[in-house]
Structure formats: structure tokens, C-alpha cells
């Protein structure tokens, strides 16, 4: 199979756009709300999810013909849970500050419906290379949305833009003091969960509009 034929491209691009796991399927919402307070957290979370999603898709796809149907959910869950634990441990060793900030939400990747959903819907029915591309596509689709949400939440909620740097985060830009002096104020609501819902709702609206998706009446 050629890696970048039109089918492969579709496997990658669909979940980023017309079949986005967050904005179209509305999966993985809990982590999308929890880790979008700061941009750097969202970026690291995206990388963690992409790693787990691709690896679990590939592993499950390789052994798909051997998994007894009766225990397939258990097997999927154990593979995903093990991969998540590995990510969690790696973060503790190499990105300690980030792992402290993400706290339980790394562990909660296990319950991210996107991962289980792709395993069940795609990886168990397709070969490893396609499953890998599906993981990339859905991972980026997830990442795209949470990065957009976190960008707006951090910018308007806390007044900064922070990139991951291995430590407590590198502040790329912050709203200058003179703006505050002139009467500008951060929107505290955006730092809280309701703020995340509002931004996410707006992003879903815009994204669906752009992708030209219409809900069946």
C-alpha cells in the first residue's frame, strides 16, 4: 500500500476537519475542558494523546485477529492503560513541572473516549499502517481544537501565552502593563470551567460552519 495515496490522506484529514473527534463527534470533552487553561499544557497533552492513540491503534491493529471477541474491551483497556501509565512515568522523569500541572489528567487519558472509540471503530478493523494514520489524524484533530481553546482561554483569561519549555513554561507574550493601566481586564470566567464550555461551544460552531456540516433534523 502506498502511504500517501488519497485514501491515506482522507484517513488523516477527515478527523482534523469534517469528522473532528471533539467538534463533530463531541468526544474527549472532559480533558478538553480540564487542560485548556494554558497553551503549554494543551500542547503537552496533545503530544501525550497522539502518542497513546497511535501506539494503541497500532498494537491493537497488529493483534486484532487474535483478540478473542469476548474480552476485546478488556484487552483494549489494558493496552491503553499501560501506555498511559508509561506516558505518565515519562513525564514525571523528563517534564516534572508539566506532570505536576497536568496532575490527574494524564492518567485520565485512559478514559478519553476518543482513544477507546478509535480502537473499537477503526483499529480492530484495519491494518497497522492505516490504524497509525488514523491515530495521527484523530490526535491532531483533538489537538487542534484544544490548542485553539487554550489559546483563547489563556490569552483572555490570564493575559499570557505560554509555550512548553521543559520547566514551568516559557511565557512567549504577556499583555503589557500599560493595557491594564488603561482599564483592560482579564476575563476571570475563562479560567473556570464554564469559560471553557463557552469557548468550546464557539469553536464547535465555527468549525462546523467551516466544514459545512449540518446536523440531521
Amino acid at each position: 500500500m502506498e502511504l500517501f495515496n488519497s485514501e491515506s490522506k482522507k484517513i488523516i484529514s477527515d478527523p482534523i476537519n469534517v469528522n473532528n473527534p471533539i467538534s463533530l463527534q463531541v468526544l474527549g470533552i472532559c480533558s478538553a475542558l480540564a487542560v485548556t487553561i494554558r497553551l503549554d499544557q494543551a500542547i503537552i497533552m496533545t503530544l501525550a494523546v497522539i502518542f497513546v492513540l497511535c501506539s494503541s491503534n497500532v498494537i491493537l491493529s497488529i493483534i486484532r485477529n487474535y483478540i478473542p471477541n469476548r474480552v476485546r474491551i478488556v484487552i483494549m483497556l489494558s493496552v491503553i492503560a499501560s501506555l498511559v501509565s508509561v506516558v505518565d512515568e515519562l513525564l514525571k522523569a523528563y517534564l516534572y513541572d508539566m506532570s505536576k500541572q497536568l496532575s490527574v489528567f494524564v492518567g485520565l487519558i485512559i478514559t478519553n473516549c476518543i482513544i477507546m472509540g478509535r480502537a473499537e471503530a477503526f483499529a480492530l478493523k484495519n491494518g497497522p499502517s492505516k490504524a497509525f494514520l488514523d491515530g495521527i489524524g484523530n490526535g491532531f484533530g483533538y489537538g487542534l481544537i484544544i490548542i485553539i481553546v487554550s489559546f483563547f482561554r489563556e490569552l483572555f483569561g490570564a493575559g499570557t501565552i505560554t509555550l512548553p519549555d521543559g520547566g514551568a513554561g516559557y511565557v512567549l507574550w504577556r499583555i503589557p502593563e500599560s493595557w491594564y493601566a488603561a482599564g483592560y481586564e482579564n476575563i476571570g470566567l475563562l479560567v473556570l470551567s464554564p469559560g471553557a464550555f463557552i469557548i468550546l461551544g464557539l469553536v464547535i460552531w465555527v468549525q462546523r460552519e467551516m466544514a459545512g456540516v449540518e446536523e440531521d433534523a
Binding site: P68, N69, S85, E89, L90, K92, A93
Partner: protein, 251 residues
Amino acid sequence: MHSNNYTLGFVFIVTIILGSMLSFTKDSIKDLQEENLKADVQKTILRSLKFDESLLQTNELIEQTFKSYIDAKCVNIEGVIVECAIEEIDIEKNVDVLPVYIRKDNNEIKGIALPVAGKGLWSTIFGYIALNPDTDSVLGIQFYKHGETPGLGGEVEKKWFTDNFINHPQEDSSGSITYVPKKIRDSNGKIVSIKVVKGGVDYSDSNMESIHQVDGISGATVTADGVTDFLLEDLLRYEKTLDKIRDYGTI
């Protein structure tokens, strides 16, 4: 349909493989993780003692700063220095040997950091409270380990909460407001610690205790009560030591 034996065998093999993968990962990075943990504790101590963030950037820098500025000692409840392996002390359980971390710049005491730990809602919260050399006003407080709910009890480690302890608004005669640290001693010099109060601190003149109070966290009353309890309990253990430092300038 696979047979029961096949299913059992399959599950068994998957378990073995995943288990080995996990233990292999954990084992190969355990040293790094422990180093991070140790640096994190030292960083918490240094932060509570208000060291500049530029000295706390990397693990090496933290260790070096810690070594050159911090005088780590153990005392007993009577305030007498005792021998100890300070890194191995179990902060939560141990009550006989008490660690003290003193910040010294040119042999002059700049601050005293004491470990505090106790139950919140779900977990034990670990942290350090640092006092100024007067052993009364708070220099800083930092929490580094807890399992409280992020966004609720987990807020104890956030800057807005810890800043409560060093920002007590005080109005002078001209009406302008300056911020002073909260105090752990009452006017007679007795240790009364600092209470985390539900809602917010009442700063009206009728509340004489406001210098010993900080704002609570909405939705995390149990965590806040826990902090109040263990702060008092732990500070009282150091009473004799703190009295000595106040009166003689040394332990």
C-alpha cells in the same frame, strides 16, 4: 468463537507483556524521577524562603543554591539540636526529630523554613512555611505534594492562595494601604498560627484576628480546615525552637 482456554491464555500473555513493559519503563527512569522529587522538595523550601526564581531554574542550580545558602538542622521538641539524617525523616509521622531549614546570607539569619503536613480531604498535603527572623511574621508558604481535587482543594498550591499569607492589607493613618505579612503569634507572643477562614477574611476593624486569618477556597472547606489544623499543630511543635531563635538569634 475462541475456546475458553485460548481466551484465558491470551489474556494471561497480554498481562505478562504489558506488566513487563511497565516495570521495565519504571525501573529505567526511577533514578531520574527520584532526583526530580528531591529537587522539587528543595525548590519548595527555597521558594518559601523567597529565593529569586532565577536560582531555581534547573535541578543542578537548585541543589547548588540549597547547599550554599541553607543550613539544615534537626531539633527536638525542646528546641535542642539533635543528630539526624534529615532527608530520610518522615515529615508526616515523625514528631521527635524536627527538621529546620535556615536561610543564612553572610551568617545572618534571613528566614526559617519548617515542614508542615497533614490531612486535607483526600490526601496528605505536604509543604513548607517560612518565617522571618522575628519568628512571627510569615515569609512565605509553599505546598508541593497533595492529592486534592484540581481546581478545588488543589488550589492550595496556587500563588493566589499562598500569597494570602504575605499580603495583609494595613491602613495607615493617612489612609493608604500597605501590605504586611500575616502573623503566627498573638500580642503576647503565644503561637496561634494562621486560620484559613471560609468565605473570605473580614477586614473590618471589629475583627481583631484578621492578621491571623487568610481567605479560604470556595468548594474546599475540608481541605482548608485541614490546613488550619496541621499548621497549628506543626507550628506548636516548633514553639521552643522558635522562641530560642527569637530571643537569642540562634538555635
